[in-house]
Symmetry: C2
Subunit: 245 residues, 2 copies
């Protein structure tokens, strides 16, 4: 599928965050896109560009937060809504109508997992530093590692076992890209816990490896466009929060 | 719009929860539906019916959690995915294509608000009782009330101010029904905090009143089909968590 549309992504320029799920879809879809806030401020980029769009978004409802996609006069926020919009345009969905609905279902469960993983280092408030909620984080992490990570990863393993074993929807889709990101992020943030889960979840790990090896994704991951994992995003590696389940 | 499809909703039978957003859409859309788990077990209802569907879901990806909609052979989970599926079928969206995407955007922000409101009484773990995380809940609630509720309610007030002032998308849609539920839930759980927000958010409160007065919604709210707010759902009234912002 070719698509000559010019897409503009507005997201925080120093983290993967939820914006990474959109970046992966744009890359795999071969889209012509600009990651606007990663341009220099002199070229209309930087966080200033994102903040300006949050203030003055044109027609349509105001975005609550980034990521935001701009395509012509359409300004669209919320990661899963952006992916649902992009997927048919970039050839990132099987053709049947049910696939679109099931893709959204799966994407929203990935989104739920991301929220729980994020909140483990911010169990009390987004507005507080990690250091100011470290004890609560430690307590929450024990439950995340023992109960929630096995439940989420086990869920996707079950979905893969019930499909063709290789793709969540039985054929390539954007949801595979997001699951790749979830698995890689968990491996970064919780290496001990994920080592404990590896043996029972071979399909999830194999999917992540296959996505990483796709030509466009491999090129992206090797490029400076891929921001490394760091301690400001959703996935943060605090050894005290990582325990074998 | 008439729709002779028979919809089956599977959700926990004793709470509003996220399932309520689907119930409101089915009611306003005049759908022919069964709230399966609220039927007697002898008639194939009860939690047993929900648990059975979670185990044995037929074709398509497994659901992670309820609510789940079954329509013919389609089994679809995740509240926002269900609403996105139902909306065009039940006449709950403006006709233009951008409206569908913007509705999903707004619905996902409502979903984010619901998650934050739920987690205030479960900041450490879903698997622990409130009483076992009460101190953390109290700490989190101060931030929710002072920072997050004004941000969420303020966001929807801004969206209403930027549309026709009466509907989030400038015309009736399912997202208005969900905002009604969010506002009523917040009024139940945080009456003091919401009293403090009322003066600055007249459009949100007027929208909730208008939705409550729609004939089908008014009939639903007055019927035994509407489960009252209680201390097991997303919205729980713990006075110690409710402070004027």
């Amino acid at each position: 599928m070719t698509d000559s549309t010019r897409y503009e992504l507005f997201y925080w320029p120093t983290i993967q965050g939820r914006g990474e799920l959109v970046r992966l879809a744009l890359e795999e879809g071969g889209a012509s896109y600009v990651d606007v806030a990663r341009l220099p401020e002199a070229d209309g980029g930087g966080e200033a560009a994102l903040l300006e769009l949050l203030r003055d978004h044109g027609a349509g409802p105001a975005p609550f937060a980034a990521p935001i996609l701009r395509v012509g006069s359409l300004v669209l926020a919320q990661t899963a809504a952006i992916l649902d919009f992009l997927a048919p345009r970039l050839g990132l969905l099987p053709a049947d109508e049910a696939a679109r609905h099931h893709a959204l279902q799966l994407q929203l469960t990935i989104a739920d997992a991301l929220t729980e993983v994020h909140d483990v280092h911010h169990p009390i408030a987004l507005s507080l530093y990690y250091e100011d909620q470290r004890e609560e984080a430690r307590r929450r992490a024990r439950h995340l590692v023992a109960e929630r990570l096995p439940r989420f990863v086990g869920h996707f393993e079950r979905v893969l076992a019930g499909s063709d074993g290789h793709h969540l929807l039985g054929a390539p889709s954007y949801v595979d890209l997001s699951l790749f990101q979830l698995i890689r992020g968990l491996e970064y943030a919780f290496p001990r816990a994920m080592a404990g889960l590896a043996a029972d979840h071979p399909r999830c790990l194999a999917l992540a490896d296959r996505v990483a090896a796709r030509p466009r994704i491999a090129a992206y991951l090797a490029s400076p466009r891929r921001i490394p994992f760091n301690q400001d995003g959703i996935f943060r590696h605090y050894p005290e929060l990582d325990a074998a389940p």
